[in-house]
């Protein structure tokens, strides 16, 4: 390939296509290279993409119709005190309540491959060129600058900027000298199983909830993760995804025999854990087993967290930059956010003809200031959980589970969430109604299996007067919200004087008020349960029958 590109994006996973699409849309000559034969062949994860990825992520995903397997309305935590006696506690406080669930979702479960394929098609539609079955083995260096890549076939493909989106391991980043090999205690090996199960059983056993199990090491139910002991199960449409993960080194000297451990834990789970043994095991059929290593503990180390993600002519994004969440084991939102930032910085750099690291530092500054990225990569609840396990302190274990994967997460999530929310609403007040439409559209798409590029479109046709009236009401209310928010924008100065300090102290406020607020909240939920259920059925019916155009932006 003798052509010269403006941008080469290495890797067509979750982050790469976002960067490629934005660059191509801006008129840059963009090449995306992928080492596998087909997009998504090598992407492995159990996957709930959290809602904040969709809210604050790329516009084309938020306003599009990506393929999802099931909305997820929250987490059920099983605290396993004694597996033999069946002594298990439940913390399911982190749930979207009815009537909003499952339309307003905590996240969306998805298979990696179709999702990445969808993103890549969007990038190609925007003008990016995709080159598959090509591994980047090194970068082209001229003076100090990265000026392209060298492929496994010996091709030298030149570009003004390289965006490295190769995912975990980041071998090209190591080759380019931006990273060194991470220490094993920062890596988690995730052993993943995919089971086929009839949709009616998935609905019945899981509904829209992700199940997580936590316990003591001696339960031999899930590997000690290094920082926390657990396993996760995600419900998909006609299948479930199961993941047990293990830190590669728990302390300086100990490298466990993972083959033995994973086998032991997997058979204990399937044979002893009551809901698995009684409900899942008789109905599920193993379809696939795979594993991969992820750098989920990088963010726990301040030094590693603050490493530069760029050199002259090259930027790292997503997992390649170590932007994975310790607590949710999730890297997709951070990959999307960083891809968007990297692409915009690359566009500026190319337009000003300055790809020096001094200019690209802008990217790192934005990453370090990004409230959600920084929050997601530095959460310490799983680290704390490990201490509770070592001390065998049930009170602490409950507390950290509640803080990490229960309602207690509001005590550390509210400030970053509101900061992002305010900055996005400030840029475009109508974004709130776009979000509402997104939730409704995603649910409707899931219900009908209707996504962009998919041939299955079987919307029900209903044109009753009542439905038309509801559609009009929905549209009218959203317009009303839009005009209200636009008018508020005029009072921006006054509002930011009140709202910004408020959002900064939200975490602290939640810490102080949650112990009082939580019992009241659950009491009210119980009290309103019959009304909520009825309202929920009405809303779901509306979304199932409404004309899809009502939810499009």
């Amino acid at each position: 390939m003798d052509e010269e590109f403006d941008v080469i994006v290495v890797g067509a996973g979750f982050g790469g296509p976002v960067a490629a699409r934005i660059c191509a849309k801006a008129g840059l000559k963009t090449l995306m290279i992928e080492r596998s034969e087909n997009v998504g062949d090598k992407v492995i994860s159990g996957l709930t993409i959290p809602f904040y990825g969709f809210l604050f992520g790329p516009e084309f995903i938020r306003d599009g119709n990506p393929p999802i397997e099931r909305p997820s309305d929250g987490i059920i935590n099983y605290i396993i005190k004694d597996i033999e006696k069946g002594d298990i506690e439940i913390d399911d406080s982190l749930r979207v309540p009815k009537p909003f669930s499952p339309i307003i979702a905590f996240g969306y479960n998805a298979y990696c491959k179709p999702f990445c394929e969808w993103e890549v098609r969007k990038a190609v539609d925007a003008g990016a060129i995709l080159k598959k079955s090509t591994t980047a083995i090194d970068v082209i260096r001229e003076d100090k600058y990265v000026k392209g890549i060298i492929t496994d076939k010996g091709e030298r493909i030149r570009s003004k900027i390289v965006i490295d989106a190769e995912g975990s391991k980041g071998l090209l980043a190591v080759k380019a000298g931006i990273r060194e090999k991470y220490r094993p205690e920062t890596i988690s090996l995730a052993d993943t199983y995919d089971y086929v199960m009839l949709k009616e059983y998935v609905d019945k056993i899981f509904g829209y909830s992700v199940k997580m199990c936590w316990g003591w090491d001696e339960q031999r139910i899930a590997p000690p993760l290094g920082y926390g002991n657990g396993l996760m199960v995600w419900p998909y449409r006609n299948s479930i995804h199961f993941m047990q993960d293990q830190c590669l080194r728990i302390n300086e000297s100990h490298i466990p025999n993972l083959n033995k451990l994973f086998k032991e834990y997997h058979s204990n789970i399937t044979q002893k854990l009551p809901w698995w043994k009684n409900l899942v095991e008789p109905r599920a059929k193993l379809r696939a087993r795979m594993w991969d290593g992820f750098e989920i503990y990088v963010g726990l180390n301040k030094e590693l967290r603050n490493m530069p993600n760029h050199i002259d002519g090259m930027i790292l994004i997503g997992d390649a930059a170590g932007l994975e969440s310790t607590e949710l084991c999730d890297g997709v939102p951070a990959a999307w956010f960083s891809a968007e930032i990297a692409a915009n910085v690359a566009i500026d750099a190319i337009h000003t003809n300055n790809t020096s690291k001094l200019f690209l530092k802008k990217y790192d500054r934005k990453i370090k200031r990004h409230p959600i990225i920084q929050w997601s990569i530095s959460g310490r609840n799983r680290f704390n959980l490990r201490t509770a396990q070592k001390e065998h302190d049930l009170k602490k274990l409950r507390k950290y589970i509640h803080n990490g994967w229960g309602l207690g997460s509001l005590t550390h999530f509210m400030t970053p969430f509101f900061k992002m929310l305010l900055s996005d609403v400030n840029k475009d007040p109508t974004i709130i109604t776009k979000w509402i439409k997104m939730f409704f559209r995603y649910y409707q798409n899931w219900f009908y299996e209707s996504y962009d590029y998919s041939s299955i479109r079987k919307f029900r046709e209903a044109t009753s007067k009542k439905l038309k009236k509801m559609e009009m009401k929905f549209t009218r209310y959203l317009r009303l919200i839009d005009s209200l928010l636009k008018s508020l924008k005029k009072r921006k100065k006054l509002l930011s004087a009140i709202v910004v300090p408020f959002s900064n102290s939200l975490n602290n406020l939640m810490k102080k008020t949650l112990p009082i607020f939580e019992p009241i909240y659950s009491f009210i939920l119980k009290l309103l349960n019959p009304i909520s259920n009825r309202l929920n059925i009405k809303i779901l019916k509306f979304v199932e029958y409404a004309n899809p155009s009502v939810f499009h932006t």
Binding site: S36, D191, A288, M290, G293
Partner: protein
């Protein structure tokens, strides 16, 4: 050519990867770390040195590379279009 294995359903391996994991015998001290972490049993110890037995079931997780504190393992990506692939990741 594509390979499958009963114990790892749902995954296929495309041949032609090349020797993408190598061991520097001079550096290897036979500590067993690579043998312990590999779920695909790619390694064996011969005369107190680790040796790549077979990469046919390797899922390219790089755990062996991470746990080798002597830096005796050289890990690179397999050639483009080869190695493991799965629909269900």
């Amino acid at each position: 050519m594509v390979r499958t294995f009963k114990e790892f359903p749902g995954v296929e391996w495309v041949e032609g990867t090349g020797d993408f994991i190598k061991i520097n015998e001079e550096k290897c001290i036979g500590c067993m770390n690579c043998v312990n972490v590999c779920l695909a049993s790619c390694f064996e110890i011969v005369e107190q040195k680790a040796r790549v037995k077979s990469l046919e079931k390797c899922m390219e997780c790089a755990s062996c590379w991470y746990v080798c504190h002597e830096d005796a393992i050289i890990f690179t990506w397999p050639l483009g279009g080869t190695g493991y692939k799965s629909e269900w990741g």
